[in-house]
């Protein structure tokens, strides 16, 4: 199947390229837009970006593989990132992370069996004054405690339908 993007993403890409004095600079913003739509950056997506910017595909892939945020494989429907760095760790972020994993019966960096989430550690999220913190997709949650994590997980379960495990196998 040919690689296709939504009209919104396409028009965003057309808008973002001319913002830069050199086209190559637009790589990161384009990758953000595609990852947002598709959930990850497939090799087809990367080749598409290379063609769009008239670059050798390796110049796109070297960017994708360097930056921790870009991924070449799908993750769960919701992305949970718990800060593991110093101020958060001093305030119990490792426990917070364990709780997220337990709530979704999953391991770090894996897709949970219900397909709902991927739990990851993040490095300092620049909110150390309200440690411990975590992001769920684009939203930051501060001063986390056990009850709050429970509430966040409940809300995720309510908002995000689980996938059928049989389907997940295939």
């Amino acid at each position: 199947m040919a690689f296709e993007l939504s009209p919104e993403t396409l028009s965003y890409i057309e808008k973002v390229i001319p913002r830069y004095p050199q086209k190559r600079s637009a790589i990161m913003m384009i990758l953000h837009a595609i990852q947002k739509e598709k959930g990850y950056l497939s090799l087809e997506a990367q080749k598409w970006v290379a063609e769009k910017l008239e670059l050798p595909p390796i110049q796109v892939r070297e960017v994708v593989t360097f930056y921790p945020f870009y991924r070449e494989h799908p993750i769960g429907k919701r992305h949970i990132r718990v800060c593991r760095t110093l101020s958060c760790a001093l305030n119990g972020s490792y426990k917070i992370c364990d709780q997220f994993k337990k709530e979704f019966d999953t391991e770090l960096d894996d897709i949970s069996p219900d397909g709902r989430v991927t739990v990851e550690f993040a490095e300092c999220l620049a909110s150390c004054g309200t440690a411990p913190v975590a992001m769920v997709d684009d939203k930051l949650y501060e001063n986390l405690n056990e009850e709050q994590v429970e509430a966040i997980c409940e809300q995720i379960k309510k908002e995000t339908p689980a996938i059928d495990p049989a389907q997940a196998e295939s």
Partner: protein
């Protein structure tokens, strides 16, 4: 758009210049609100009545030092711009804010974005910038959205874009998002990233941004807080600004207090008028009940650690002798420097006696090992070794010789790398071993099972 919670408690000792409006309950991020409070008046006046060279001189007179980490005087940096080459000049705002312990730029971006834009457009006008960028870390998606919307408002009012306010000067401003790599905070790594490449820092010399920066053109990179200061410098004049704080340490700074204190948070304080003791005990409410101080990291996690009870003895540049404990160190640029560390990014992390100091270093080392860009062998391999050794120690495998091993790895990194990440990853290990040697040696005596089964972990 989501709104950001305001902090309701402003400490009476604060002198809020940059954060003057940020936390006022009725202040919002719209351009109307900003202009109701005098916003963009400084820019209007500057483009109509002042020459760019005059503005550069104001910044020089102000003696303002960079708020991103190195504390380099901004006026001097601008002066280094290579104007002979005839190439376009670029301005980049460093909004990567990723040094652990730092969360001040976040407040400005989320609560007063137009102040940053006005500071940037004044800087752009003063330096003759052809195009300006804000490089914001990926983990602030709301911040990026707020900035883009604010830029559109400013463009609609002709504060940026073509022929700004009829002055004949044109400059656009573009938001660029990172992708969760700390090394993009290093200015030459940032530039490579903005060029659409891996963020491999460039070697200085010859790649000083002021001469060979973005697209090999002269480029200014300044931190968010630094650029906001420009607005206030132009408004009150450089000489007036220089009266705030202390000579060579002018203005206010937004200190970020975190870790194990009662009132963590950001506090904007006049430079040189307070001490680390004031910040931790008076303003920050001190340690939690029943806890004693173990260590302080004075300026972001890469700055050298201080151990509770240690004394700093020496002579200041002006000849005055000092004999300080941690609580006496002046809260400015020069104070922590005299005490063998640095104010860095202004991130003060307080560590009490309830945690294992080996584990604290293990946590820090995991960060720097994760963030090395991998170009230089000493940094790439060394940061990983330090992480592996300290993680093993924390998990019950400590050996008596580990302290020496760690120190020797650190010593083989610092000074041998392309960028200052080499120092950033070596300084924690070097200073933790120097200051807490006994605890690192004692760690070998701990029962491995006890270490393995500990309930509180940081690695």
């Amino acid at each position: 758009m989501d709104s950001v919670k305001k902090s309701t408690e402003i400490h009476p000792d604060e002198r809020r210049i940059i954060l003057k409006y940020a936390d006022q309950p009725d202040y919002d991020i719209s351009i109307d609100c900003y202009m109701r409070n005098g916003g963009y008046d400084v820019l209007k006046k500057a483009v109509a009545e002042r020459k760019p060279e005059e503005l550069c001189q104001e910044v020089m007179d102000s003696q303002v030092r960079g708020r991103g980490g190195a504390g380099f005087p901004a006026g001097m940096k601008w002066k280094f711009l290579d104007r002979k080459s005839g190439k376009p000049i670029y301005l980049i705002c460093n909004a990567d804010e990723s040094e652990p312990g730092t969360f001040k730029d976040r407040q400005i971006i989320h609560k007063d974005p137009h102040q940053l834009i006005e500071g940037m457009m004044l800087t752009a006008f003063a330096t003759g910038t052809a195009q300006a960028f804000i490089y914001i870390r990926e983990e602030m998606p709301l911040g990026a959205e707020i900035l883009e919307a604010a830029i559109e408002e400013a463009r609609a009012n002709n504060f940026l874009g073509d022929n700004i306010l009829g002055s004949g000067y044109s400059c656009d401003l573009v938001v660029h998002r990172g992708a969760a790599a700390y090394i993009c905070g290093e200015e030459t790594g940032l530039i490579e990233s903005l060029e659409g490449k891996r963020a491999y820092p460039r070697i200085k010399p010859p790649y000083f941004p002021a001469a060979l920066g973005l697209y090999m053109c002269p480029t200014i990179v300044n931190n968010v807080e630094t650029l906001c200061n420009v607005k206030h410098i132009v408004e009150m004049s450089g000489k007036e600004y220089a009266k705030i704080g202390k000579p060579g340490n002018t203005g206010t700074r937004i200190w970020c207090l975190s870790g194990m204190v009662k009132n963590p948070g950001y506090y904007e304080l006049e430079n040189g008028q307070f001490t680390y003791g004031d910040l931790i005990y008076k303003i920050g409410g001190g340690l939690r009940d029943g806890r004693a101080l173990q260590a302080v990291i004075p300026g972001g996690s890469s700055s050298k650690v201080w151990r509770s009870g240690e004394r700093f003895v020496g002579k200041l540049r002006d000849g005055t002798e000092f004999d300080w404990g941690i609580e006496d160190v002046p809260l400015d640029f020069d104070g922590p420097m005299a005490a063998g560390s640095m104010s860095g990014s202004g991130g003060v992390v307080v560590i009490d006696d309830s945690v294992d100091i080996v584990e604290v270093l293990a946590n820090i080392n995991a960060f720097y090992a994760h963030e090395s860009c991998g170009q230089c062998t000493p940094c790439r391999e060394g940061s990983l070794w330090m992480k592996k050794v300290t993680t093993r120690m924390a998990n019950g495998g400590a050996r008596e010789e580990d302290a020496d091993l760690l120190a020797s790895i650190g010593d083989q990194i610092a000074g041998r790398t392309v960028c200052a990440h080499g120092e950033a990853c070596a300084w924690p290990t070097q200073s933790f071993i120097a200051k807490f040697r006994d605890k690192f040696i004692d760690k070998a005596k701990q029962d491995p099972e006890e270490a393995k089964s500990r309930s509180f972990r940081m690695v």
